[in-house]
């Protein structure tokens, strides 16, 4: 069977080599066992020693069986070629296949031959004895021969023989052979590794000798690496390459390194070969003795990469590749002058793409840790964005700069990256059409609308024109004068300075958005004129055309050439790279990198008119910058987003972008711009919006309630709420209306209430006060919710409720980063109390009022922590109680003393105290404007109030303080209504009275009463009434048929109705019972009876009054049948008894002498009508008074 030719060394490096096992086929038996052996390849469990002499289990050890007769092996025999370079390819094991079925034959022929083979060379061998015996005798003989072989060749240390029975059933022998082969390989490998390592050690020791040649070192080292790779010890192989790379770098960077050619000048070199180790015959370097750095470094990397790929570590390739590309790009920069135009950029782009392609094809996220996955995608993203940057540089160079967005991302990448610096700038292409095409490129239109807010960023480190002209062939020939001119042209001549400082000194920086077209023509004409005398300098289109021509002719990578040959191609390629970079960054959790690149994708979409896609991506970018508060960056993107939204008629989005622009830090946007944005919003709001739009202006408008305690309202009361609104708009903004939601706290139901402002407000920039009308609310605590303003079709919502006025006074949003608590404390602005009693009206006196006399009735009106402002008291009377509906009532402050006397509740006293405290502090709720009014009134003087139709309005001062309203009533004694008290009718205490009753005409008061009583009182005659007018008090009594005369008590009712609260919406009604009584309890007794029908009648008067009274006169009216003795007119006997002073609650008696008068008598029945009129002795004043004060009681 034909054996494949052993590959040529140079070619062999292409494919992984296999370990060779040599077959010494002595008896032509190889073919019979070959199938069985080759079936076991690759060996499953081979244990080999690695470089550190540790046993390593190698799975899939691939070996190749080659017969010694093969031409390849013969060439590889020792001595024929360099041991160093090819030694590792020699067979690692020798398999000697023999058979023999005769002892003599063995002894005479085979044994000597085997001895020769075994001793011929220092190699690892073992003998496979193949037995073809089928009969028992033959088997016996072969066994005997085999034992002889074993005895001759095997030692105790090492078994070197094994026997294969071709016809036997045992198959385990093949496994034994495999083990033996592996053993041989292991021994050979160890020996060879040791040998090579020794060589490497020797060579590296001499590294600093002048005659040392890296190529030799490389050959040895790489041989070692190959050997490891063949033995599947790839880790060790990789380590060899790593060491090789390190030593190479040291060699190259050594100060006295002989500078051989860098390379990179061959055709196709611009296309990176970092993963393709076969492009250049590297062994050729070794042969030539020169190593070209450009090729060699790429070759080394490709070897490392392929080993890593075989080790299933594509992520590591990615990582190493990234740093390799960066390092290599730096090396290329150092040699830029010797390399073709823009070689570095092209190489980086191709290298990045090749690396990304190769690694992502082999990468599987399933078999590595999440961190590795993250890292891998990060590297892919980095590679893509690196390629993208270089692509932008090339595009900018050939005049596609207008198609590159001047975003911070691109600007940062490009303006810090120097222009290419070839030794000579490429010359103009022969065809002028290219130049004309470049001339026709119009500069980008200046953005309209909000786009002008974006800062114009530079995309170039310096002016390309200057950079190019400096390197013109004709100028760089060494003309000293021109050099001076140029150095004058640019003060920053050195490349380092160029990189550090991108501001071109002679050019106005404002003209440099990207390509300095205008700047180029206007810049330093005098300098250009000087150059004119030698050769006209290239104009920018010419520079670009020249660059384009040079690039398109030199680029060997088809994709890149397509990308650079047209604007569309560039944009496509650019978009692809950007998108891929963004995707990978997103996958690696680098959201900021990803989102920024999304913005770049959006820019391309925008330019191509795919506004929808652009807006979506821009929104992402804006959301990122906005949420993190990087306003300087946001202002670069937001205007573009708003342009998209405007063009898409996404008015809600557009307006909200405008709002966001307004709410940015004032720095990046001028005041005029802010004003114009506001004008735009207002214009749109008042027309042009198809549907109403709701905008969140929380960042722009903030609001807060007044400081201090919350406004307290009673349930059902309307009110007003003062809200402070901070407007961040640059100018006044006129709202159609402003409303605010109030949110109840601690209640799940009954969500929010909307309250509106009193009038349509104009919000000025900064602080505004807005008054909100509160309709009657349900009980509960309320906090501020959402402020909503309406302008035309636009609804502005603000959720930002300021907790601290310090934060809001700046106009900015309050800080959301609260270190201590996540929840902002909600401040209650409104407390609506639960329904409760708001006012109480009690009578000051209920008992001891006298019948038939005008009596002052006091009503204590006590507000219970509620203002009685504007309250009206309406009084009406029950039956038999006369009340003058138009009278002058008196109102005085209810003093605590009086309140105590009337057994007030403690809360009332508290209320009073609070009120007095409030008076003293002058700090009361809702009363600040009326404080003076309260303090004005004279607490000693009751105030006269004019009552109309039974109604009286309480004055202002009485709204928070308990007061007593005195009104006059008069009760008639009526039999039907009289009730008889069985209890003690004793008066408990004297009724209070207005302290200083102002002087007034008694007649005016009583006259009305008189007429009223004359109509109602059936028992009062005109005389007696007149008497009562005279004497002031009238008492009436009846003597009951049983002879005892008792006084009568009557309950009368007084209905009090009070309207109070805001717009008198609340009503308080109470019926007050008043107990009226007669002044005396009267009883009669006949003291003595004469025979003549005369008798002496004693009338006992039991005073019911709590004060002393003087009875001025008394007369007894008799029924017919009785007559006074002595024909008196009914005066008591003796007459001097009168006037009689009766002290309080005491008894007195009057005697009357009467006789029966037969003329008028009726059969034994009699009735005494008693009428007593007394004049009350009032020493203090002489007016009519119905009550006796405590003070009067103590008077003598």
């Amino acid at each position: 069977m034909a054996t494949p030719p052993l590959p040529q060394p140079a070619v062999a490096k292409k494919s992984p080599e296999r370990l060779i096992v040599a077959i010494e086929d002595v008896n032509d038996l190889w073919e019979s066992i070959r199938g069985n052996l080759e079936a076991r390849v690759p060996f499953k469990k081979a244990s080999l020693n690695n470089k550190a002499r540790n046993l390593v289990l190698v799975d899939k050890l691939v070996v190749e069986f080659v017969q010694t007769t093969d031409a390849r092996l013969r060439r590889g025999l020792p001595g024929e070629q360099s041991l160093l370079s090819y030694g590792f390819r020699r067979p690692y094991a020798w398999l000697i296949v023999v058979t023999c079925d005769d002892l003599d034959e063995y002894k005479n022929l085979l044994k000597p031959r085997l001895k020769t083979i075994v001793q011929a060379e220092d190699h690892e061998w073992f003998i496979v004895f193949v037995s073809k015996a089928t009969t028992d005798s033959a088997v016996k003989i072969s066994k005997r021969v085999y034992s002889r072989i074993e005895g001759d060749f095997s030692s105790k240390k090492r078994e070197r023989c094994c026997k294969v029975d071709l016809h036997g059933p045992d198959t385990s022998v093949w496994e034994e052979i495999e083990l033996k082969i592996v053993e041989c390989i292991r021994y050979s490998l160890d020996r060879r590794v040791q040998y090579y390592e020794e060589e490497v050690r020797k060579l590296s020791e001499n590294r600093f000798m002048p005659a040392w040649n890296f190529c030799n070192f490389f050959t040895v080292k790489e041989s070692l690496a190959f050997m490891f790779e063949m033995a599947n010890l790839r880790e060790d192989a990789l380590r060899e390459y790593d060491e090789l790379e390190q030593i190479y770098s040291e060699t190259v960077n050594a100060p006295h390194a002989n500078t051989s050619a860098f390379g990179g000048l061959d055709a196709g070199d611009d296309c990176a070969a970092l993963l393709d180790g076969t492009r250049k015959p590297v062994s050729q370097f070794a042969a030539d003795g020169t190593v070209r750095e450009f090729d060699f470094r790429q070759y080394l990397f490709s070897r490392q990469a392929s080993l890593l790929f075989n080790l299933l570590r594509p992520a590591e390739v990615s990582g190493r590749g990234h740093s390799f590309i960066i390092l290599f790009a730096k090396i290329l920069t150092q040699h830029e002058k010797d390399l073709p135009f823009c070689m570095r950029e092209i190489w980086v782009i191709t290298a990045c793409l090749a690396l990304v392609k190769a690694t992502s094809r082999r990468f599987s996220a399933a078999i590595v840790t999440p961190d590795t996955v993250k890292d891998f995608y990060r590297l892919q993203g980095d590679l893509y964005s690196y390629a993208r940057t270089k692509l932008m540089r090339l595009a900018d160079l050939i005049g596609y700069g207008h198609n590159i967005e001047t975003s911070p991302c691109n600007s940062a990448a490009l303006s810090m990256l120097p222009w290419p610096r070839p030794a000579v700038w490429p010359a103009l292409p022969p065809d002028i059409s290219r130049v004309q095409a470049k001339e026709q490129i119009s500069p980008p239109k200046l953005s309209e609308g909000l786009g002008r807010l974006r800062k114009q960023l530079s995309l170039s480190p310096t002016v390309l024109l200057r950079e190019a002209n400096r390197r013109r062939a004709s100028l760089s020939v060494g003309n000293l004068a021109e050099m001076l001119d140029l150095s004058r042209l640019s003060l920053k001549e050195s490349p380092a300075a160029d990189a550090a400082d991108s501001a071109p000194a002679p050019l106005p920086p404002s003209t440099l958005p990207d390509e300095p077209i205008s700047g180029a023509h206007s810049s330093s004409p005098e300098v250009l004129q000087k150059q004119n005398s030698i050769e006209p300098p290239m104009k920018l289109p010419e520079v670009q055309a020249a660059a384009e021509h040079a690039l398109l002719t030199s680029i060997s990578d088809e994709t890149l050439r397509m990308a650079l040959s047209s604007v569309e191609g560039f944009e496509d390629f650019f978009l692809e790279l950007t998108r891929a970079a963004a995707d990978n960054f997103h996958r690696s959790w680098r959201k900021r990198h990803g989102v920024v690149l999304d913005g770049e994708v959006a820019a391309v979409h925008y330019r191509r008119g795919a506004l929808d896609a652009a807006a979506k991506l821009y929104e992402k970018v804006c959301a990122l910058y906005g949420s993190e508060g990087w306003h300087a960056l946001l202002v670069q993107v937001l205007p573009r987003l708003s342009e998209c939204q405007k063009k898409l008629s996404d008015w809600a989005g557009y307006l909200s972008s405008c709002i966001k622009l307004l709410s940015l830090d004032p720095g990046p946007i001028s005041n005029e711009d802010r004003s114009s944005i506001q004008a735009e919003i207002v214009k749109l709001a008042h027309g042009g919006l198809p549907v109403p739009v709701s905008l969140d202006v929380s960042t722009l408008i903030t609001f807060a309630a007044r400081g201090g305690p919350p406004l307290e309202l009673c349930e059902g009361d309307p009110g007003t709420l003062m809200v402070t609104v901070w407007s961040g708009f640059p100018d006044d903004i006129i709202m159609d209306s402003l409303s605010l939601t109030l949110v109840t706290t601690f209640t799940a139901d009954e969500g929010t209430k909307v309250v509106k402002s009193v009038d349509a407000p104009v919000l000025q920039p900064g602080k505004n006060r807005v008054l909100m009308t509160l309709p009657p609310q349900k009980p509960g605590s309320y906090v501020l919710g959402v402020l909503t303003g309406h302008i035309g079709q636009v609804k502005l919502r603000s959720h930002t409720y300021c907790t601290t006025s310090a934060a809001s006074s700046k106009g900015g949003p309050p800080d959301s980063d609260d270190y201590l608590s996540n929840e902002k404390p909600l401040r209650t602005v409104l407390e609506v109390a639960k329904p409760r009693a708001l006012v109480e009206i009690k009578p000051a006196i209920t008992k001891g009022l006298l019948f038939g006399e005008p009596q002052w009735v006091g009503l204590i009106v006590r507000p219970l922590n509620y203002s009685l402002e504007g309250a009206r008291v309406h009084i009406s009377t029950g039956p038999n109680l006369q009340f003058l509906s138009d009278q002058t009532a008196l109102l005085e402050v209810s003093k605590p003393l009086l309140a105590e006397a009337n057994a007030p509740s403690s809360t009332d006293i508290d209320g009073m105290k609070t009120f007095h405290n409030m008076l003293e502090n002058g700090d009361s709720l809702n009363t600040d404007d009326n404080v003076n009014g309260i303090l004005d009134y004279d607490t000693d003087m009751p105030q006269h109030l004019l009552m109309k139709d039974g109604s009286v309005e309480l004055p202002d001062w009485a709204r928070m303080v308990a007061s007593v309203l005195w009104v006059q009533v008069k009760a008639d004694s009526d039999d039907t209504l009289c009730s008889h008290f069985s209890g003690d009718p004793h008066l408990s205490s004297p009724p209070p009275s207005p302290k200083k009753v102002p002087l007034m005409s008694p007649d005016s008061q009583i006259k009305g009463l008189t007429t009223a009583s004359s109509a109602n009182g059936p028992h009062a005659t005109a005389d007696s009434l007149h008497e009562s007018l005279q004497h002031g008090t009238t008492g009436q009594g009846h003597v009951l048929p049983n002879g005892s005369l008792v006084s009568r008590f009557g309950m009368k009712t007084l209905k009090v109705k009070m309207e109070f609260g805001v717009s008198r919406s609340r009503l308080y009604e109470r019926t007050i019972a008043l107990q009226f009584t007669h002044p005396f309890r009267i009883s009669t007794r006949i003291v003595s009876r004469g025979n003549d029908g005369r008798f002496l009648l004693q009338i006992t008067l039991n005073s019911q009054l709590a004060a002393a009274v003087t009875i001025q006169s008394a007369n007894l009216l008799l029924q017919p049948g009785f007559a006074h003795v002595n024909n008196h007119e009914g005066h008591p006997t003796p007459a001097w008894l009168l006037p009689l002073s009766v002290s309080a609650s005491s008894e007195c008696a009057l005697l009357f002498a009467i006789r029966s008068d037969p003329v008028t008598a009726k059969d034994g029945e009699y009735e005494v009508d008693y009428h007593a009129a007394r004049r009350v002795n009032r020493s203090s004043n002489r007016i009519l008074a119905k009550y006796f004060s405590v003070r009067q009681l103590s008077e003598p």
Binding site: S411, A412, K455, V596, W630, Q636, A807, D815, S816, D817
Partner: protein, 135 residues
């Protein structure tokens, strides 16, 4: 030799609360933009690095062309970020530590709400002085 440096304090919720260009290089309008862009992007890397070390000073975390980003993270996860082109690591460390002290003093101010923008001119002056001293 002029140096470029841009110092930014980034609050816990990633928003910049203090910015200053502390380099000696001539001021350029657009440079501030670019510096902010670079610093903002490197927040991505900081969030990875910050959990891998116990130190507050994270040293170099990012590179952008010739510019380097060094970061110092306080216990409250406020990040002091410096964009610089010099490689004076000790100086930067000292600078960070002293600014951290200043920042803590700032936090002690009851009128300063943590996480809001630092507007104190005193703070600004002190930071610039420190930058001159150490950078």
């Amino acid at each position: 030799m002029s140096s470029t440096a841009c110092f930014v304090i980034v609050s816990r919720n990633d928003s910049p609360i203090y910015e200053s260009e502390v380099g000696t290089a001539p001021k350029k309008d657009e440079a501030a933009h670019l510096h902010q862009f670079i610093l903002h992007a490197s927040l991505d890397i900081v969030q990875d690095v910050v959990w891998n070390t116990n130190n507050m000073f994270l040293k170099l975390v990012d590179k952008f062309n010739d510019l380097l980003v060094s970061v110092y993270v306080t216990a409250g996860h406020t990040r002091l970020m410096l964009l610089h082109d010099s490689r004076n690591e000790d100086g930067i460390k000292n600078f960070f530590q002293e600014v951290h002290e200043l920042y803590i003093k700032m936090l002690l101010n009851p009128l300063y709400v943590p996480g809001s923008r630092i507007t104190s001119p005193f703070f600004d002056t002190r930071v610039r002085a420190l930058a001159r001293k150490y950078l």
